[in-house]
C-alpha cells in the first residue's frame, strides 16, 4: 500500500492562523485529495500534539495521545483521538463528507468535516464526560455519544 506524505511540523503561527476564520486548512500545503483515502491508509501517531504542532495525512489519522489547544490535525479521511482533542481537527479535508472525528474527549476549539465547520462556544462550557463522535448528517455537523454501535459508522 502506498503511504503518501506524512508531515508533522512545528512552525511559527501554525495554530493561530486558523483560529479566526473558516478557510480550508490547506494553506501552502498540497491539498489532501480524498481519492487517496483507501480504507486501510492510516497513520498511527503515538504522542501528544502540542501547541503549534500539526499533522496532515491524506488517509486516516489515529492519535494515541492528546491534541492540545493550538495543535492541528488534518486528514483526508477519519480522525480518531484516544485522548483529549482540544485543538483543531479537520477530517475529510479533501471534501469527503463521510469522514468522522471521534475522540475519547471531543473538546476541539474548532472542528471541520469536508466543508462543514463548527467551533467551541465562547466562554466557559462543561467539558464532555464521555467519548463522542462527530459527523455530517443531513447537511450539518452533529456530535453524539460514542457507544458500542458507533463503530459501524467507520465502515460507511
Amino acid at each position: 500500500m502506498k503511504v503518501t506524505s506524512i508531515e508533522i511540523h512545528s512552525s511559527e503561527g501554525a495554530g493561530q492562523a486558523l483560529e479566526s476564520n473558516n478557510r480550508p486548512a490547506e494553506g501552502k500545503k498540497e491539498p489532501v485529495s480524498w481519492e487517496e483515502i483507501d480504507g486501510e491508509n492510516t497513520i498511527l501517531l503515538r504522542r501528544t500534539l502540542r501547541s503549534c504542532q500539526s499533522i496532515r495525512y491524506p488517509g486516516h489519522i489515529v492519535i494515541m495521545g492528546d491534541v492540545n489547544p493550538g495543535a492541528e490535525v488534518v486528514a483526508g479521511g477519519n480522525i480518531i483521538v484516544m485522548g483529549n482533542l482540544r485543538g483543531v481537527a479537520h477530517a475529510g479535508a479533501g471534501g469527503y463528507e463521510g469522514a468522522l472525528v471521534a475522540a475519547f474527549r471531543l473538546n476541539p476549539s474548532q472542528l471541520r468535516i469536508a466543508n462543514h465547520f463548527t467551533r467551541a462556544p465562547d466562554g466557559n462550557y462543561p467539558e464532555p464526560q464521555q467519548p463522542e463522535i462527530a459527523r455530517v448528517s443531513g447537511g450539518t455537523l452533529i456530535i453524539e455519544n460514542y457507544h458500542s454501535g458507533s463503530s459501524k459508522l467507520f465502515n460507511l
Binding site: R50, S51, C52, D66, P69, G70
Partner: protein, 262 residues
C-alpha cells in the same frame, strides 16, 4: 562534572529571571557551587535582580568572542562565595552568540560548577535556541493563565524535539484565593494539558517585588511564602524529596474531592 539547567517559558514576564535568581541562590545556600548565565542579550536584567549591576565589566559576548577570559567575566555574588553570574550583553543582539558557542561555554562552566543555571529570553527564536543548546535539563515556568500555558506547551514541544526530555514545571504567581473562587486555572488543569512533572508552585508574593528592587532574592527571606517555595524547589532540584506546601497542594485536594464525587 556539574549540570546545566535552562529556565524557559515562551511567554515573557512569567518569572524566568526571578526563578533563575532564586533557585541559583537557593542552591548556593545549600553549599553548591553555582553560576547563573543570563542569555537575554539586549534585555539583560538578571544582574539587577541579583543586585550585581554595578560590577559588570565584561559580558557573555565578550567571552564567546574571545574579548576576555571566562574568569574575567564571572561576577562573584555579594553574599555567597560560590555563587557567580555571567551577565548578558546590553548593546548586542541575540545573534551575537551561536548555539555552538553556547555548547562550548556551558561545557567549560560545568567543569567548574555543580550547577549552571541559564536564564532564557522570551520567544522561540535564536535566543531560545542558544539558551537550550548546552542544557541537559529544562525547567518550564508558567503562570496560571491560558496564554502562558499555551506558550509553555509550545516550548515543551520544542524541548522534546531538541531531545531535552522530561522538562519540569514551575507554576508561578498562583493566587490560591482566586483558584478557590474558580477565577484562575488550577494546578490540575495545567498538569492535565502539559503532562509534565510539577517541580513546584510559587505564590503571588509582594516580597518578590520588594526583593527584586533590593537586588536580594526572596529565597533568602524566611518570612516570604514565595521564598519558601523557592527553597523547596531548590531542594527538589538536588533530588531531595520535599512534599508540596499547603498552598501548592490546593489543586490536588480539589482532585481528591472530585474523585469522591463531592
Amino acid at each position: 562534572m556539574g549540570e546545566v539547567i535552562v529556565v524557559t517559558s515562551g511567554k515573557g514576564g512569567v518569572g524566568k529571571t526571578t526563578t533563575t535568581a532564586n533557585i541559583g541562590t537557593g542552591l548556593a545556600v545549600m553549599g553548591n557551587k553555582v553560576v547563573l548565565v543570563d542569555t537575554d542579550i539586549g534585555l539583560r536584567n538578571l544582574d539587577v535582580v541579583m543586585g550585581l549591576e554595578n560590577r559588570i565589566v565584561y559580558d557573555i559576548v565578550d567571552v564567546v568572542t574571545g574579548n576576555c577570559r571566562l574568569k574575567q567575566a564571572l561576577i562573584k555574588d555579594k553574599r555567597f562565595e560560590d555563587l557567580f553570574l555571567l551577565p548578558a550583553a546590553q548593546t548586542k543582539d541575540k545573534t551575537a552568540v551561536s548555539e555552538e558557542q553556547m555548547r562550548e561555554l556551558t561545557q567549560q562552566l560545568k567543569e567548574e560548577f555543580d550547577y549552571v543555571i541559564i536564564d532564557c529570553p522570551a520567544g522561540i527564536e535564536q535566543g531560545f535556541k542558544n539558551a537550550i543548546a548546552g542544557a541537559q535539563r529544562a525547567i518550564v515556568v508558567t503562570t496560571p493563565e491560558v496564554a502562558a500555558v499555551r506558550d509553555a506547551d509550545r516550548i515543551i514541544g520544542l524541548l522534546e524535539a531538541a531531545l531535552l526530555a522530561e522538562p519540569k514545571l514551575i507554576v508561578n504567581r498562583l493566587r490560591p484565593s482566586m483558584v478557590k473562587k474558580g477565577d484562575m486555572m488550577d494546578i490540575d488543569d495545567m498538569i492535565e494539558i502539559l503532562a509534565i512533572e510539577l517541580l513546584g508552585v510559587v505564590p503571588e508574593d509582594e516580597a518578590i517585588v520588594i526583593s527584586t528592587n533590593k537586588g536580594e532574592p526572596a529565597v533568602l527571606d524566611k518570612q516570604s511564602k514565595a521564598g519558601e517555595a523557592y527553597r523547596n524547589i531548590s531542594k527538589r532540584i538536588t533530588g531531595e524529596h520535599v512534599p508540596l506546601m499547603n498552598l501548592e497542594a490546593d489543586g490536588f485536594f480539589r482532585r481528591l474531592r472530585r474523585l469522591f464525587g463531592a
